[in-house]
Symmetry: C2
Subunit: 339 residues, 2 copies
C-alpha cells in the first residue's frame, strides 16, 4: 500500500494586513501511525473564524500565537481513522483544534466527540451547535442580559455569530436592529431571520439610520466589528447599556495601533458596561446552551446558513472572505468526505 | 436694616480648555425672602469636583449643562437662615446643589439634612461621608468587586476619591498600587494611607513601574484619569479584570475629540469588564456606605485630607487645581462661617 500523504498549511510569515497565500506554505508529509495513547483523525470540516487572524500576530491573545513553521491552528471536525486510546473508536466523529491539514495525530485530551442531532447536518456543530452558537448564546444572555422591550443592536449581523445572537434577541423579546454590509445580507436578516430592521453601513449613514431604527436608544450592543461602528453605537447608548465585545473584526488586519472609540467617555456618562468574553470560558455550560439552541431550531425560531468551500487547498484564499464580508454564513472548508 | 447682598458666580462663556476667570461673572443681587414652601440657605462650604467641568459643555452628561447666565451649579453645605417649609428649621445644616453663591433659595425637595458625626468635622460630609466617600465605596465594592490577594491599581490615587478607594482596597485585602503626580502625594498614600506602592507618573515610566509593582498583573483598575494612564493599565490587566470608570479627568478640558484607549482590544482578549458609574445611582444605599465609612474611620483604617480655600471669590481660580494636580486633598471653598 502506498504511503498516505498529509497535506498541510504551515505558517511561513506573519501576515501584514490581509492574509496572503505567500504567508503560508503548502506542505505534504507522510501520515504517521498513532503512538500508544494517540488518535489519528482524518479532517472532514475545517472552521474558518475571524479569531484565527488574531493567532497570527507575534503576541499572545487568549492563546499563544501560531509559531512560524507550525501547522496553522484551526477548529475542525474529523473522523477517527486509527486509535490507540481506549476512549475513541475508528469511525467516530470528533472535533478539536485539529489544524489546517488532512490528518491530525492527536492527544485524546484535546478531542471531543461530535453529537449528531436528528434533522441537523454534521456542519451544524460549527454553524449552530458548536462554538458559534454558544458564543451567541452566552454572549447575549450572560453578558448582554437582555430584557423584553429593550433595543439590541448587532454589528456583523449577518455573520455566523451575529445572525444567531440577533435571533436569540428576538426570542427574548427585544427590538433587534442589525448592521451588515450588503443589501442581500440586510434582506436575509430581516425577511428570513426576523430582525426588526437592518442597516447597510456601506450605503447608509450609520448614525442617522441607528437614530431612526432605535427611537428609544440602544440598551444592548452585540459588537462584532469595533472601530467606527462601535463609536457610533456608543453615541446612542442608554443609561446602563451593555456592550458585549464578542469581536473587533475591523481591527484584526490592522497594521498599526488602532485607537479605542472616541465616545469612550460615554461609558462613564451613561454608566455603561463594556465586557469582553471568549466562549472557551463557557465550555462547562455547553450542554445548557446546545439543548436550548437545538430546541429553538426545532421550533423554527433560529435559522443559520453555511458557506462551504471545497478543498483544504482553498483555505488560505477563503479566509479573507471573513474580512471583506463576501461570505454568506458560517465559513467552512470541506477537507474530505463525511464517513 | 440694610439689604443683604448675595454674591454669585454666573456662567458667562463656555470654557475652552482650562477654566478662565473670564468664563464667569461675579454678580451681586439682593437676598430674597423665601416664598411659601421655600427655604433660604446661607452657604458655608462649597465642594469643587472634577465633574463640575463636565457640566460646562453644551451637551447633557448625566445632568443637563449649566446654562449661560445661570449661577454655577455646585454641591454645598449651608445653614438654614429662614424657612417657610415645616420640614426645615433655622440653624439646621443642609446640603444639596446650592450653587456657587452665598445664599440659595431652595425647594426643600433638593435639600438633605447634614448629619454630624462625633469626632468628625462638618467638612467630612464632603471628604469622606458624602459623595466622595460613597463614590469610592460603591465604585470599588459594587463595580470592582475586589477579592483578597488581588492587585488593585488606583489612578488619581491622592485625589479625594482615589485615596479612599485605595484604603478600602487595603481593607478588602488587595495589593494596592497608586498612581499620583508628585513625590509628596506618593509619600502620603504609602506612608500615611498604607498603599503598598506608589508611582509618580511625572517622573517614572508608568509601564515599567506598574510591571515592577504589579508582578501578578492587574485585577482591578479604579480609574479616575483616563487617557494614557488607562491605556498603560489595560496593557497589563489579567483575565477577568474589572476597570471601574469613576472619572476621566485627563479629558475634561479637552478641546477636541479624544480617542479611547489603544489597548481597547484587550477588553476582549482578557475578557475584561469596563464599567462606568455615577454615585447618584447609589443614593438609596447611602446609609449602608456611610455607616461603614464612619466605622472604618473610627477604627483608624481610613484617613482623608481637605484643602480649604477661603472665600467664594476664589472659587474660579481654585477649581483648576483639580486639573493641574496642585491640590492636596478634597478641595472645598469656605464661603462663610459655620454656625
Amino acid at each position: 500500500m502506498a504511503t498516505r500523504m498529509n497535506h498541510q498549511w504551515r505558517l511561513a510569515a506573519r501576515p501584514a494586513g490581509l492574509i496572503k497565500e505567500s504567508d503560508f506554505t503548502w506542505r505534504e508529509e507522510p501520515v504517521a501511525d498513532p503512538a500508544d495513547g494517540q488518535v489519528l483523525v482524518r479532517n472532514v470540516y475545517l472552521s474558518l473564524d475571524p479569531t484565527n487572524r488574531g493567532w497570527l500576530y507575534d503576541m499572545p491573545t487568549y492563546m499563544p500565537p501560531v509559531a512560524l513553521g507550525e501547522v496553522m491552528r484551526g477548529f475542525a471536525i474529523g473522523v477517527v481513522e486509527d486509535s490507540r486510546d481506549a476512549g475513541f473508536q475508528p469511525g467516530e466523529l470528533v472535533q478539536g483544534l485539529l489544524g489546517w491539514q488532512e490528518f491530525a495525530l492527536c492527544d485524546p485530551a484535546g478531542l471531543t466527540k461530535v453529537s449528531r442531532y436528528p434533522s441537523l447536518p454534521v456542519t451544524a456543530n460549527f454553524g449552530l451547535l458548536g462554538h458559534i452558537g454558544l458564543t451567541a448564546y452566552f454572549g447575549l444572555l450572560d453578558i448582554g442580559k437582555p430584557r423584553p422591550g429593550e433595543t439590541l443592536v448587532v454589528t456583523g449581523a449577518a455573520g455566523a455569530v451575529g445572525s444567531i445572537a440577533g435571533q436569540i434577541g428576538k426570542i427574548e423579546g427585544c427590538r433587534v436592529v442589525g448592521v451588515a454590509g450588503s443589501d442581500e445580507k440586510c434582506r436575509w436578516i430581516t425577511e428570513t431571520l426576523g430582525f426588526d430592521a437592518a442597516i447597510n453601513y456601506r450605503t447608509e449613514s450609520l448614525l442617522e439610520a441607528l437614530k431612526k431604527h432605535c427611537p428609544n436608544g440602544i440598551d444592548i450592543d452585540f459588537e462584532n466589528v469595533g472601530g467606527q461602528a462601535l463609536d457610533t453605537v456608543l453615541s446612542l447608548i442608554n443609561q446602563k447599556a451593555r456592550i458585549v465585545i464578542c469581536g473587533l473584526i475591523s481591527q484584526y488586519n490592522a497594521t498599526r495601533p488602532v485607537p479605542g472609540p472616541y465616545k469612550f467617555s460615554n461609558i462613564l456618562m451613561r454608566r455603561a458596561r463594556v465586557e469582553g468574553f471568549i466562549v472557551l470560558d463557557y465550555l462547562a455550560r455547553a450542554e445548557e446552551g446546545i439543548s436550548k439552541l437545538v430546541q429553538w431550531h426545532q421550533e423554527g425560531k433560529i435559522q443559520y446558513r453555511i458557506e462551504l468551500v471545497e478543498g483544504l487547498e482553498n483555505a488560505v484564499k477563503a479566509i479573507n472572505k471573513l474580512f471583506d464580508g463576501s461570505h454568506r454564513g458560517k465559513l467552512i472548508v470541506k477537507v474530505s468526505e463525511e464517513p
